[in-house]
Subunit: 564 residues, 2 copies
């Protein structure tokens, strides 16, 4: 008897699970149930379609050779029955039957299964504020949404839009709509954009976005959508600010779509996702779940996590499909919550734990370092990267890596991700053998340079200080000595203007007399990226100064306004 | 008493060692001895200067802020005495003295040391053939060489050049001179370019180079440089071919410059490099060595290796400098022989062991897989990557990763390098959590896709076959059934023409009757990248065919001529 496998959900995890099950069991009877009209949508590509990076919407729905992944394709190429426009209304676990409704004609029928895979995805959250039903409010979560926003782009009528939420999708949508010539304001209730980053790096991304003609409001939540004649005319924030706009894109996150599972009595986890074991099996041994609807585990902290990422959905679909077809044979190890996004000429990424996340997870003895530097040599037109590394002090193990900037962030985060997964420690990273040639990286790649700085800190050779603390000390005017060791030309072009004294590194050995007489004074050294700052600090320590610190990442990582 | 540290060699490892020693010991008396006029040359950047990627030669000799790293800079910024134009003639280990000659005036003096660091680099090999002294023969190893070749580029007089040697430097030089408008022929004595790659991937790179108007001759060695009036007019190869040319760049590798060390009685290893321990200490406890002059260890095989890479030289310099300053405290773990190069619009990289290298190192039970695919989605203008993964079958551990193509090879190789260093196995890689968004990668990144294919092979679910074997079987016309499962349009545009039969995947379930009646027949399935090929193979196996194979990497990885 052919095994009957039903998969509910046709976006990412579902089709992948179906395809994997088919490859491993050519005789199984495989049915994919999808509420919407489309299958295997490349939903992470929506912002790029909206922004006009490409014009052919079928590219979001097609194989690389241009074949639309419709029910006919699934049947012919994979022998999978795909029922689109079909809602899975209920699961009868005793009878192992899914009740379905054909949304076109309202007809109902029942499909029986031996193994069921839930890939019901996630639903955009909507802020509970008045005016939510006004015309002009959307999310960017479905093909419909993408079509709606692309039409707005093409019509060039709407002039002002707000984006509610400064996370990954919000930021990508910001870029898309700005490219469409729309004046954008991103509104984030929390004090920073991209909350997966630590504040300093998030602020640097925010500065970049502002520099590209998009407005950003942080620390202020949406209070109300304003409208007239059923159409959006603006938004009102909690502090009373009113912003006129004709379009609002809501991107405040998603919640797992676990209603069907919950109604069937399956266990739902603390994060709201369907609870699964390492085989992605739910509390019912005949039902698996994969993708944005599940609760997975953070591999570093061991804590439950909801990780709605397209890549993980595909990997989980593959695991669920294999286990449904072959019995429990492969495990999904969880996530390290690697994420990346592009916004204009900048990229921002993270893998593992930020400092904030590490502390929240109970890591009490951690060390962090921020460095800045180009991704490639200057003569190869290298672009800046700002990197923050988090390690567990006791064993030096890498807990996380964040990186933002105009340079090759993807490589840095991929390197960091594999180092985290490999449980590598700083001692392993300082002599990593990475691919080097000038078109690709510096001789000492940023990732290694961050490990070098971290090693100096862990061994007590370098005392770092973050930009936030420097700013706070400078504002208190409490006698801290701020030492800029760049050259005069550099100082003329760019400077912080927070009371710093300029003594170029090359003159420092001769001009050491200009430093405070009190050898216990706090001296903070910096330069553009603080490599010279670190050199200066090492020298000053040798002169008997006992509290010399390096401002990590230098001026490049300074996220606050500068004098020039 | 200040510790006296002398470093011999001022290119990469030497200055890094000196700087590191200074940072950790501000009181030490540090002297850097350099034979040539320049210090800290970015020698890996020479090809890009020659090719005109940038015009200001000082960029090769300057800090990122444009300060030339001359003796004055070293003294002022770092408190290091740099003696340029000075040859270290001999080391008297008993007296701990280095005899130096000032090359400008011939004067000699002696410098005493407590710790000595040798960073004497490597010397280009020169083929032992007649005519070596003709004008027009050079290497690309020194600033002088770079100046010479850059002048040739700028003058635009020379029309034809040959490059002797198809390794990293040869290939980079090929690109540089082609950009200079010179007709290039690369001559490689071995049967393939880039011998660190397995033949199939090397051939794909070769095809790319040929496509860019450079000629390539493999399997034919240089016999003689031909000349008239002291000037190069051509080269003669072993098979008698004569190629007229006005310029020959010799890039047949380098040999460690260990003469000074050997003369001082230090142990020199089997590879010709100075023998060092994990602290980079030579056979004399007061002498360290770093960079291209040493023999290091391959971390995977445990075998001695000469690894003359700029990044390793810097890392080794840092280790030697620290140990010379602080006593033996940090270890250099060796190399996994990661390398990468760019050639026109292609990149080619490797980390760890190729199949060839793994077998040579005695790994008898390995598995390999070749895959092809874009680095990013088609709608983001993804570019092709061809990847080969080598694993140790017993434990599934990743031994090496090779990648070539127009896409983002750097990220792939960096990922592979960290996976090799982290001793990750295929089971770890199949669910790796890597940074995904459409501007950066596919939802299932190439590296993970390679691991998926490898897992299918290791579990016996996929039988692969390489292009070379397919070609050989097809030529023998021995009844193998070659099944191209692409669409008719694709077949019209591009096809192998080796006797294959076209049955599109979507039609295969209906047209299975067109396959051989003999269920034991060898059927080889493929498509553009062989994902559909693998789907077809899984189906055919279910139809009772017992010898179904997938041509790995598909047409994209086919390195031989095609019908169209």
């Amino acid at each position: 008897m052919a095994k009957k496998i039903i998969i509910i959900g046709g976006s990412a995890a579902g089709p992948k699970a179906a395809a994997r099950a088919r490859r491993l069991d050519q005789r199984a009877d495989i049915t994919l149930i999808q509420r919407g009209p489309d299958l295997s949508m490349a939903s992470c590509g929506y912002p790029y379609y909206v922004g006009g990076v490409f014009d052919d919407r079928r590219m979001l729905l097609s194989t690389p050779t241009g074949v639309v992944r419709d029910p006919k394709f699934f049947m012919n190429a994979k022998g999978i029955t795909a029922l689109t426009g079909t809602e899975a209304a209920a699961i009868d676990r005793k009878r192992r039957v899914v009740s379905c409704t054909n949304l076109a004609d309202g007809s109902a029928n029942e499909l029986s299964y031996d193994k069921l895979i839930l890939a019901t995805g996630a639903t955009p959250k909507m802020p509970p504020v008045p005016g939510r039903d006004l015309e002009g409010i959307t999310t960017l979560q479905s093909m419909n949404d993408a079509d709606y926003l692309r039409k707005i782009r093409d019509e060039r009528v709407i002039k002002k839009a707000v984006i509610i939420g400064g996370g990954l999708i919000g930021i990508e949508t910001c870029e898309a709509l700005e490219l469409a010539g729309i004046e954008i304001t991103v509104i984030e209730a929390l004090p920073q954009l991209l909350t997966f980053l630590d504040p300093q790096l998030a602020k640097i991304v925010e500065n970049h976005i502002r520099g590209r003609r998009a407005n950003v409001i942080t620390g202020n939540a949406l209070a109300e959508f304003l409208g007239r004649d059923g159409k959006l005319t603006g938004v009102k924030l909690v502090n009373g600010t009113e912003l006129p706009c004709e379009l609002a894109v809501v991107a405040v996150g998603v919640k797992p779509d676990a209603a069907l599972a919950a109604a069937a009595g399956l266990t739902v986890g603390e994060t709201g996702g369907i609870a699964v074991d390492e085989f992605l099996k739910t509390s019912d041994p005949d039902i698996y779940a994969a993708g944005d609807c599940i609760e997975t585990v953070n591999r570093i902290t061991g804590k439950k996590a909801h990780a709605p990422y397209g890549d993980l959905a595909n990997l989980q679909g593959r695991v669920a499909g294999e286990n449904a077809a072959c019995g429990d044979s492969v495990r999904f190890p969880g996530t390290i919550q690697t994420g990346i996004c592009k916004v204009f000429d900048f990229s921002a990424g993270i893998t593992g734990l930020s400092e904030t996340a590490a502390r929240a997870a109970g890591f009490t003895d951690i060390e962090t370092v921020v460095i800045a530097g180009p991704d490639k040599p200057g003569f190869m037109n290298g672009k800046l990267l700002i990197t923050k590394m988090t390690v567990n002090r006791a064993d030096g193990r890498l807990l996380g890596l964040q990186c933002v900037g105009a340079g090759d962030v993807g490589r840095q985060i991929a390197s960091g991700a594999l180092a985290v997964m490999g449980k590598l420690a700083v001692t392993d990273l300082v002599n990593a053998d990475l691919p080097y040639a000038p078109p690709f990286s510096l001789a000492i790649d940023n990732f290694i340079a961050a490990a070098h700085a971290m090693e100096n800190k862990l061994k007590g050779r370098m005392k770092g200080i973050g930009a936030a603390e420097v700013k706070s000390l400078a504002e208190k005017m409490n006698g801290v000595f701020l030492l800029d060791v760049r050259g005069p030309d550099e100082y003329e072009a760019v400077r912080l203007g927070i009371g710093e004294v300029l003594i170029p590194l090359g003159a420092l050995r001769k001009r050491v007399g200009e430093l405070p007489a009190d050898k216990g004074a706090t001296i903070i050294c910096f330069c553009t990226i603080s490599l010279r700052g670190w050199e200066a600090a090492a020298f000053l320590a040798s002169q008997g100064y006992t509290d010399v610190r390096v401002m990590e990442g230098g001026i490049a990582a300074w996220p606050y306004p500068r004098e020039k």
